[in-house]
Symmetry: D2
Subunit: 134 residues, 4 copies
């Protein structure tokens, strides 16, 4: 069981199992995507053709920021309001979509972009499934 799952099942205020499962998946996907994007931004800056990858660096930095903040807000279940959660998860899905598309363009030549694009797609999908469940 992941740390997130252990924490959610010991939280004093449980949600219905369906929503909680989407929540867990989205928190974990955000965490992994933030790591992938932070590492992809740095890998791009290390490449010989770094100057051609600055659009990718920028998308990575935005996506990492959005994923971290979304993860933080999703971890707060006490006294929250759905309007903010929905707006933020939508913005996060948009960041993941943009970053995933940009990384995919470089995937044939840079393997880290391929790995990162996968993480972005998984996170975008987890965001959209959570939005549908809320």
């Amino acid at each position: 069981m992941s740390v997130v799952e252990q924490m959610l099942t010991t939280h004093p205020d449980r949600r219905d199992a369906g929503v909680e499962e989407k929540l867990r998946a989205c928190i974990e996907a955000c965490g992994a995507c933030a790591q992938a994007c932070a590492l992809c931004a740095d890998a791009c800056m290390s490449e010989r053709d770094a100057a051609d990858l600055l659009r990718c660096v920028r998308a990575d930095l935005d996506c990492a920021d959005l994923c971290e903040t979304t993860q933080r807000v999703l971890c707060r279940r006490t006294e929250g309001e759905d309007a903010l959660v929905r707006a933020l998860v939508k913005a996060c899905a948009e960041a993941c979509r943009m970053c995933g598309e940009e990384c995919e363009r470089h995937a044939p030549t840079h393997e880290h972009c391929w790995v990162c694009a996968e993480a972005c797609r998984r996170c975008e999908s987890a965001c959209r499934e959570l939005l549908a469940a809320l």
Copy 2:
């Protein structure tokens, strides 16, 4: 001249003066609001009636996170896309509105909530003006 204004005017890629002014105002309002919210969350936790202020703490923490991330993304002007900026600034305005309303409820008894509510309102307004200018 503020640091943000100095930095924006020395950036190699200038924007039209109207948008740049809204951008500067929004970055600065996000920075001040993030500070106010971080300090308000802690001040609430220090109050004797902390247990009654947890909804305010939570709103403060969310709003601080949104403001910091929005500030970061707005600082990136290279190779960005408006769709993400718009979605994020909307989410930030929503966080400021919620936090401002919650803080206002405690403003009569807790002066820090009054100061924080003001910062939230200024930031919400700066976000909406930037959205209108984009």
Copy 3:
């Protein structure tokens, strides 16, 4: 293979295998600890005795912030300097030690504190092993 491991092995600038393994372990431990602390802070605020857990909430918030920032800096391997990395990883280990000790005090009555204490100890240990390897 975790996303972090996939990203590190596709980074254009590889390190020696021993250091890279400690780096991977530390990045992953920071990510998991940040999630545990964010969730523990919220769970504490949801408890009936929340007013008695504010010291734990505070330790959780600090530890989550330190772990996220350490993770971010560790993800940057291009053009960095060890002096900053060492100072930050030391501060992170200190945050994990403090938060782990505080959570442990509440572990007998609050299971989420027990889970969080474990995550803090693993992260403190990963930080110290990375420091020894640098």
Copy 4:
């Protein structure tokens, strides 16, 4: 009066005036330095010689992260421990020193690096003064 000053003076748990003044100065310097560094990283990536400025981008990103986290932790005055604050403020001063030195190298050709170097020096100095007062 700045927002930080208004918030500190309405906090239920006041400190002695000397320390509080250093605290206020450090929180504000961290906020301004984080903004300068975020904007400098992006400005560098917008320059024609971006490929020669990647060391500066990296220093900017690290420094922005350290300043934001230090600001957050300094905003928490309830139930904290000085050991962590000291370790973090030291790491932040180190990040500011490194980033200030790197930016200074590019100051003759890039004015944003000159502005950022100034912000880094002010923040390093505010960190060291706070350390001396704690």
